[in-house]
């Protein structure tokens, strides 16, 4: 494996639980993946509705930083993942936009590197069998709904991640922990994403449906792979419960935390204490702590 890790701004601030549990897995599985030095913001979803060129040029700075290290890019945040891919795609086209990126950056950026999500690397390169071999504590008895959100699966041609309507990649990782992955219909339904700040009411509407459907289909917790999905489902869960007068109490894990638990890693190291909806009562109840 020849990857360098691009955490992105969210993992550095509001999602340290995702960041720390990722580092714990990299360390435990001995993957030798280090952070890209001096990475910069991908521009997120705030730039493209105003300036298309800027939205594909900003991530090119990070592609360039990875090239300098001679590394491919491993990423966790789906929005960063999408914007790095958009930039790579734009550079590869022989058109005006590609020339404009070169002019903006001041040189032609080589876009031939691989950009992969950590979950893909675990399933396709490290291997599910090896993950199961490393398991010391089966999470048997725990029912988890895998929630992917939109950006990682769509557009399919750009992301090349999994089926956009019924992805199974995270479900496979959940099954590798010994837990049961529930079959449910809202895997890729949008959570409201960036509207979290600008239109919080919209987010509460959309996330309510997600929590309700997960619980209805037998989930005791949800597994996510996106920092924004996590904020909207975890941090805002109290507000959702208040708005709809319905109790959920569904812990929202990052998939990396569940894998870490199955490897017997210290819950502190996996930052389980930083979740807003405490997972400890559920884990104790299942004899997993």
């Amino acid at each position: 494996m020849n990857y360098a890790y691009y955490p992105g701004c969210s993992l550095e601030s509001t999602s340290p639980d995702f960041h720390l549990s990722t580092l714990a897995l990299i360390d435990f599985l001995d993957l030798g993946i280090e952070e890209i030095p001096d990475w910069t913001c991908c521009g997120a979803s705030a730039i493209h509705p105003d300036n298309k060129l800027m939205s594909v040029a900003l991530p090119a700075l990070t592609l360039d930083a990875a090239n300098k290290e001679n590394k491919d890019i491993m990423v966790q945040c789906p929005a960063c993942f999408a914007h790095l891919r958009e930039s790579q795609h734009a550079i590869k086209q022989a058109d005006q936009m590609s020339n404009d990126i070169t002019e903006v950056i001041g040189k032609k950026v080589d876009a031939s590197l691989k950009i992969k999500h950590f979950s893909e690397i675990l399933v396709h390169e490290y291997g599910l069998d090896k993950l199961k071999e490393k398991r010391v504590k089966s999470l048997e008895g725990l029912s988890i709904a895998s929630y992917y959100g939109c950006v990682i699966v769509r557009p399919k041609k750009l992301m090349e991640y999994d089926d956009p309507e019924n992805p199974m990649l995270m479900d496979q990782l959940i099954e590798a922990t010994g837990a049961k992955s529930v079959n449910w219909p809202f895997k890729t339904k949008c959570c409201g994403a960036g509207n979290s700040i600008s239109r919080t009411d919209v987010v509460l509407d959309l996330t309510y449906e997600i929590l309700r459907l997960a619980k209805q289909n037998g989930a005791e917790a949800i597994s996510v792979l996106c920092p924004l999905c996590h904020i909207n489902l975890d941090l805002r869960q109290k507000a959702i419960e208040k708005r709809y007068k319905e109790k959920f109490n569904l812990p929202i894990f990052y998939y990396t935390q569940l894998l870490g638990l199955s490897f017997g890693l210290d819950p502190k190291k996996l930052a389980l204490d930083r979740l807003f909806v405490s997972p400890f009562p559920l884990l104790r109840n299942k004899g997993l702590l």
């Binding site: 509001t14 300036n51 800027m54 404009d100 903006v104 939109c150 769509r154 509207n195 700040i197």
Partner: protein, 187 residues
């Protein structure tokens, strides 16, 4: 819905510009309505996603640029993924937002305030400083107390960066300035 087509038909110019910006062919749409059915925000829109595409086919620029719909789209891409005709509806929404910004049309939702606050955070630090983004949004949107209650919660869980990181500032600023200049030249 009754619409007056004659008044703002400017089919060729608007249609060509839109298709160039969005890199898609809106003429292919046959109004099956799948985009509207799958849109998670359709319940808040004044005209549905499929209606936006129809108005674009008809060259009704003012109608779509002044709609609430283009500001409510969250780019989840469900519409484009499901379109049986391969029309990139999300791409059209994105292009319409850029057109509306260029023409200084007043946004019909606070989302533009968030985008501005976000961009200025990147320009100031090279990485996004989230407490600054929220503060900037609150100022621009005049919702001063919005989400303020979350700060102590985030502090307790150590989910907040107290200080921004300054990274490759000269390069980031150069990229942003040059991109602005080139895009302005195209208008």
């Amino acid at each position: 819905m009754q619409v007056n087509i004659n008044k703002d038909v400017n089919l060729l110019e608007f249609g060509e510009k839109l298709e160039h910006l969005a890199e898609t062919d809106v003429k292919k749409c046959y109004q099956c309505g799948k985009c509207t059915a799958g849109c998670p925000l359709n319940y808040l829109m004044d005209i549905s996603p499929s209606q936006v595409i129809r108005f674009c086919q008809m060259g009704m620029k003012e109608k779509v640029l002044n709609s609430r719909t283009i500001w409510y789209c969250i780019f989840c891409d469900t519409c484009s993924t499901r379109c049986p005709q391969g029309v990139d509806i999300k791409g059209v929404m994105d292009a319409l937002r850029r057109m509306a910004n260029q023409q200084r049309i007043k946004p019909k939702a606070d989302v533009r305030a968030l985008e501005k606050s976000f961009a200025s955070s990147i320009y100031s630090f090279g990485r996004v400083y989230e407490p600054g983004v929220v503060a900037g949004f609150n100022l621009l949107s005049k919702k001063l107390l919005h989400d303020v209650i979350l700060f102590p919660l985030l502090l307790v869980k150590r989910k907040i960066c107290l200080m921004p990181h300054w990274v490759r500032l000269a390069e980031v600023r150069k990229v942003m300035k040059r991109a602005r200049k080139i895009e302005r030249g195209k208008q």
